[in-house]
């Protein structure tokens, strides 16, 4: 039996917080009737892998209140109302959180952080050849430290649980396997034999 869509009847704010609102949505289904569902209403999110010319990832060591622990993540945050695009938001967050910048930015992919209870998307980007342009800004209540991690060690850090943020892992998985950015052209290793004249 093919599953059928639900139709939203009404939606109201059950509770407001500074970073998301909790909505109660009344929905109707042709076979299942009317039910309430709770949804976190949050803006779209972004994250970005800032990569130096020496192939180091500029990462953030950061206190996270949800787990009440420090994490190792890539820069990221919310797309603000005055960000003209997710890419702009990602670059803004990278500069604010890490102090590094580059204008060579490509989109790697996008995910639903949690389609069961959130409607938003997290967009992932790669910034190539980043350079330190300013000091990171300690915004609001964020307690952060910038660390440089060789790209070659990222897979091992994820495999061993040193990096556990699902959205940081999603960004690296696009880079490593699902949507790797086009490789720069490099000098061929093997020259063709010269044609005889």
């Amino acid at each position: 039996m093919r599953p059928r869509k639900w139709k939203t009847l009404t939606s109201d704010v059950a509770y407001r917080t500074p970073i998301f609102d909790l909505h109660r949505r009344r929905s109707l289904h042709s076979r299942r009737g009317e039910h309430d569902f709770f949804i976190l209403d949050a803006p779209n999110w972004v994250n970005i892998i800032p990569l130096t010319k020496a192939n180091e990832v500029v990462m953030i060591h950061q206190w996270r209140h949800g787990i009440a622990e420090f994490t190792l993540e890539i820069p990221g945050g919310m797309v603000d109302a005055d960000d003209p695009s997710p890419m702009h938001a990602a670059r803004r967050e990278m500069i604010e959180e890490s102090g590094y910048d580059s204008d060579k930015i490509v989109q790697l992919g996008m995910v639903h952080p949690n389609p069961a209870i959130q409607g938003n998307i997290c967009f992932s980007f790669l910034a190539k050849n980043v350079r330190q342009v300013e000091k990171p800004i300690a915004l609001g209540n964020e307690e952060t430290e910038v660390v440089l991690v060789p790209m070659s060690e990222i897979a091992e850090l994820i495999a061993t649980g040193a990096i556990m943020h699902a959205l940081t892992i999603a960004a690296f998985s696009f880079m490593h396997v699902y949507n790797p950015p086009p490789h720069r052209k490099v000098a061929k290793r093997y020259r063709s034999p010269r044609r005889k004249k």
Copy 2:
């Protein structure tokens, strides 16, 4: 300047829903003073890649209320209070949602779905040689359909956005690159030459 820990002072339930509670947590920081943070209190989650002998992934086509769309995901859900372990919960969810089962289950990895606002962990598993043992159970208000997807097509489905659930992508990324399960022993392709007697 090294970031410092926050200390939780008080925590109370701001709002209750059937699948998570919204907590308001008052925390103290030696440099930043006292502030409120909002946390989703949810049980740990699990998901599982059910793989048939023919190398097909048993996936779920499912309505998700957060995005108000259908998704393509692997089976998963909450670790219930009476589940003796996350692996048990993953197997239970696999049987309930897909009707497939196997006792060859290995853990692939674990992630924080969202360490900023949630304290819980999502554990990912792989079930090998699954077989259909019963019909999937349509629990509660879940509208689902079981589909078989060749494992060889998963990377392309993620790269093109047909699979967008961050936690499903995390599970596959462990399998593909970050924590691949040990390979089964297979017959060697090349026999060693017999030793001369």
